[in-house]
């Protein structure tokens, strides 16, 4: 089949990009290879691990289960867009550092983007709610406890 391409104009981390994409280009690959935003990690590529989670029009989604062609006219935030500038960490990132919420760090961008949306919606969560919100992100290093601790701390800091 001849390649089928589409013009998309998409806003990523506040910057508008115009690109031509092949139909079968996954959003995760588009972010990493076309826009060179390699902070979005690719784990399982079938929607199980959560490493590729980004924020699409305000909600956390798996970027490996969306097509770049679907992003025309939409807004995406990746982990690169989380902190206000390059010299500072977002409170979520700070809390992850302070609580040892990461070891190898592969799952971390996906967890940050998932929890950003979750804490926006539930600013005062309990541990059970945090674990439920985290259930779609696999981490093989931490055993999750330090991530949960980090999220409790981040929620507290974001409230004050």
């Amino acid at each position: 089949m001849a390649s089928d391409t589409h013009d998309v104009t998409v806003t990523v981390n506040g910057t508008q990009h115009r690109r031509q994409v092949e139909s079968r280009m996954l959003l995760s690959d588009f972010l990493r290879h076309d826009l060179l935003l390699a902070g979005t990690h690719v784990g399982c590529e079938h929607g199980v691990c959560g490493a590729c989670t980004v924020i699409f029009d305000g909600v956390a989604v798996r970027s490996c289960l969306m097509l770049a062609a679907q992003t025309d006219g939409h807004a995406i935030t990746t982990v690169e867009g989380l902190a206000a500038d390059r010299d500072h960490l977002h409170p979520l990132q700070e809390a992850m550092r302070d609580c040892h919420g990461l070891q190898c760090g592969y799952c971390t961008p996906g967890i940050l983007m998932t929890m950003k949306c979750f804490l926006d919606e539930a600013p005062a969560p309990d541990e059970v709610q945090i674990r439920e919100a985290l259930s779609g992100n696999l981490c093989r290093c931490t055993g999750y406890q330090h991530i949960v601790d980090a999220m409790m701390l981040a929620a507290e800091r974001l409230r004050s």
Partner: protein, 292 residues
């Protein structure tokens, strides 16, 4: 693991989407949430020549109550929105209880009820629920539209009775009636995984506590969602007690033919179906009695 090449077309209108499906037939697939379809495309288990993206068709999203007893849910309604709609907990308690079991929050943010049903995975929760609730599914094509009873919709594993030119556009589910109780339970290896077996049941009782109607649906207990009619019928006409619940559980264990997998043998799935049925029926009956 990348999809094989295909032609992508974003639908401009429902008519446009249906005309494309009429033109391409089985060569084309509708793309709704994509949370089941895209993984199979990434694995190249599914290689559609044409992908018709219906996400722009926002008129297919949303839930409305019509009349006293029916909820009309657009096929493109995302699980995220059903979870956040207070009408779901009030009128569709069975759906509300099952939603947290359907994959993970990020999947529910994107996944749609219509896509989930049309994918027809026998291990999936919602097919068993619409069967248990005696839901009606509306299919539309350029030829017109028709309603399909949920039990008639599922033809087998990943197969439905939709024609090659039809789209599932709407799901109609009855609102919970007074003196009724619902319960959903499943066993999965991890939160959000497919159920090893799941049970969805509703029980309605009269003023004296006698069972008027009981419907039981099961997921991952066969090659399509199972409606356990004999077990449901066995409960009608008497108060639901331990003996009746045990009998229903045994009827279900005899009626099903689960596939078995590396995670759960047929025997274990049959065991689970019996245990979960009994627990879910007891809970649904307790909830119905609260309405007395």
């Amino acid at each position: 693991m990348k999809p094989a090449p295909f032609k992508y077309i974003a639908a401009r209108s429902l008519e446009h989407a249906l005309a494309l499906k009429a033109e391409y037939g089985d060569e084309a697939r509708f793309l709704a949430g994509g949370q089941s379809l895209v993984p199979t495309m990434n694995f190249r288990l599914t290689q559609p020549a044409v992908l018709i993206d219906i996400n722009p068709l926002t008129q297919l999203a949303g839930m409305q109550k019509s009349g006293p007893d029916g909820l009309h849910i657009g096929a493109l309604t995302r699980y995220r929105d059903l979870e956040r709609d207070p009408a779901t907990a009030r009128d569709l308690p069975l759906v509300a209880e099952a939603l947290p079991h359907i994959a993970h929050p990020q999947i529910r943010n994107r996944g749609t009820i219509g896509g989930n049903l049309a994918h027809a995975d026998p291990a999936s929760e919602m097919p068993a629920i619409v069967v248990a609730l005696a839901g009606q599914l509306r299919a539309r094509s350029t030829r017109g539209d028709r309603w399909i009873a949920a039990a008639e919709f599922f033809a087998g594993a990943l197969a439905t009775t939709l024609a090659a030119d039809e789209m599932l556009v709407e799901v109609k589910l009855p609102a919970a009636k007074p003196r009724s109780g619902a319960c959903f339970m499943e066993v999965a290896r991890r939160r959000g995984d497919f159920a090893l077996v799941g049970v969805a049941c509703t029980v309605r009782i009269d003023e004296d506590g006698r069972c008027v109607q009981a419907r039981i649906g099961l997921c991952n207990a066969g090659d399509k969602p199972i409606l356990a009619e004999d077990a449901g019928a066995s409960l009608v006409g008497r108060p639901i007690g331990t003996a009746q619940i045990d009998e229903a559980g045994e009827l279900i264990q005899r009626a099903i033919d689960p596939g078995g997998s590396i995670h759960a043998s047929k025997e274990f799935q049959r065991h689970l179906a019996g245990v979960l049925t009994k627990r879910a029926l007891a809970e649904a009956n307790t909830r119905a009695q609260r309405g007395l």
